[in-house]
């Protein structure tokens, strides 16, 4: 009876500590990023989640090792290779479907031969992978700090959704400056939730945020390798926006579904 009470008390204390850590993290991370974005910064703000996570760990006396900042290659090389291949697959496959499924919206230009497109994908993959550190700041914050704590509080599924929501709100200052705020917000939210499942599985499987950073950078950089060679009719693109968007999400849905199942079954 007493042991049960002690266990409940310690669980409540742990929950309170985790909530305090999350509040502290978000209070640093969100406003600072919004201010930087409103001041016109589009590059350095990506490091704010890492800085917020590090400060929170230092103040709440959590070991920095928990942020999984360093690579662990031994026994995990396959995950790093998977990260590169997954990033390229997510970026390229959906965009390659565009001229196939919507031939009136997009066509490949005259200079786009198979060899040129493949070489371009290789080039963007190499450049993107080398620059993984640009988005490592985000992944230290989200995958290293935020998601494990959300998962402790509310389970895997809700943690994935809430982390996706927070990641999207974090981009608020940038979204507000774009046209069609609601459209961009909705598409970013869906992408963040799907990508979150993939990034979280990869982080747990490799015990490091670096593969997640690699996937994130490649999904930002490699689409240009294919889209750069397409001639897109802007009017038809806008008219078919949601159809095109859901089509390009197909690879993400498949990979995210598999990663989510593996997360739930604890296969990592």
């Amino acid at each position: 009876m007493i042991n049960k009470e002690n266990t409940e008390n310690s669980q409540k204390t742990e929950r309170r500590t985790v909530i305090k850590q999350l509040v502290f993290f978000l209070l640093i991370c969100l406003p600072v990023t919004w201010i930087l974005n409103l001041l016109g910064d589009t590059m350095l703000f990506a490091f704010i989640p890492a800085i917020a996570a590090t400060l929170t760990c230092l103040i709440t006396k959590v070991k920095l090792r928990e942020l999984k900042m360093f690579p662990k290659f031994k026994g995990h090389i396959k995950i790093y290779l998977f990260a590169i291949l997954c990033g390229v697959f997510l970026s390229v496959f959906g965009n390659l479907l565009l001229p196939v499924c919507f031939p009136k919206v997009a066509v490949f230009g005259e200079e786009a031969s198979l060899v040129v497109v493949v070489l371009s994908i290789f080039l963007f993959t190499a450049i993107g992978t080398i620059q993984f550190f640009i988005l490592m700041g985000e992944e230290i914050g989200w995958m290293g700090f935020l998601f494990p704590r959300m998962e402790k509080l509310c389970g895997t599924t809700l943690a994935l959704v809430l982390t996706g929501v927070i990641r999207t709100i974090w981009h608020l200052a940038l979204l507000v400056q774009m046209e069609d705020f609601l459209l961009n917000f909705a598409t970013l939210l869906l992408s963040n939730i799907l990508l979150g499942a993939i990034l979280d599985w990869v982080t747990k499987a490799s015990d490091s945020v670096i593969p997640a950073s690699v996937i994130h950078v490649l999904t930002n950089a490699v689409p240009s390798a294919v889209l750069g060679f397409m001639v897109i009719d802007e009017t038809l693109y806008q008219a078919n926006y949601w159809g095109i968007y859901f089509m390009t999400l197909i690879p993400s849905v498949i990979v995210a579904g598999v990663c989510y199942w593996m997360l739930v079954k604890k296969k990592y």
Binding site: G40, D41, T42, M43, L44, E111, S113, V115, V116, L119, S120, F122, L123, A126, I127, I130, Q131, F133, I134
Partner: protein, 252 residues
């Protein structure tokens, strides 16, 4: 292996600090307002191209200098470990000679990678200060792979023959290969279709074909990083085999 990296950083602390200071000093050239200086000296209107040339040349000169400084530090990572006693100790440890070699390859990679990170930070600060979006990523990423390629060629020689003689033997071998190649091209039994004239004709025809030139350049740019990384891995494997023989050249 991480322990060996920590040991290398500790032993080379002074070199790294001097290197860091030099890199910082050289990087300040990126933040000088060249446009204003040119205007103040009265050259701007006539040399508008020079102004844009300055913006193109400055990052190239800066990053070449930074990579040269880093090369100097990378060359020094072997010197303090060239002792028979230390080599015997590390070979008897669980990591063995392979772990020692791997730590050197990681250290070299980390130092070069540090320049890429530094380059990104310089780009970000330049954008923040000037408001002009620009990036020298093509320069420092290319230099990164070039430096890794040069280290991949050099390190097996240093591991086999020691730091003092390794570089000399490398230069001698490369010179010998180049000499034999040139002598063969000039005097050797070449097929009739292969001649200097036919070679230059091919170059002229090729350079007139814009599509072929751009595809070839794209191919070289795209495949170069992968070839370099494969060569670096191959160099590591060769160095592992040569490590024990190289130990015999060390001082006590």
């Amino acid at each position: 292996m991480w322990g060996l990296l920590y040991k290398d950083f500790s032993v080379m602390k002074k070199d790294l600090l001097i290197c860091g200071g030099s890199v910082l000093g050289i990087s300040l050239l990126l933040f000088i307002p060249w446009e204003s200086l040119l205007q103040a000296s009265g050259v701007a209107s006539e040399f508008l191209n020079a102004e844009s040339m300055i913006y193109a040349i400055t990052p190239m000169v800066v990053y070449i200098c930074i990579f040269l400084v880093i090369s100097g530090v990378q060359s020094g990572i072997f010197a303090h470990d060239e002792r028979k006693v230390f080599s015997a100790y590390i070979t008897s440890s669980p990591m063995g000679g392979n772990g020692q070699v791997l730590s050197k390859y990681y250290m070299t990679l980390l130092l070069s990678f540090g320049v890429v990170v530094w380059g990104f930070l310089c780009d970000s600060f330049c954008t923040l200060i000037s408001g002009i979006k620009g990036s020298a990523a093509s320069i420092y990423i290319t230099m990164f792979f070039v430096q890794i390629l040069l280290r991949a060629v050099e390190m097996p020689f240093i591991i086999r023959f020691g730091e003092k003689h390794g570089r000399t033997y490398k230069i001698l071998l490369i010179s010998a290969i180049a000499f034999v190649g040139i002598v063969y091209l000039l005097f050797g039994p070449l097929p009739e279709s292969v001649s200097l004239d036919s070679f230059f004709e091919f170059i002229i025809r090729f350079s007139k074909n814009e599509a072929a030139v751009s595809t070839t350049m794209l191919g070289v740019a795209a495949l170069f990083p992968y070839i370099v990384l494969l060569l670096y891995y191959g160099s590591y494997k060769i160095s592992c085999k040569l490590y024990q023989k190289g130990v015999n050249n060390y001082d006590k």
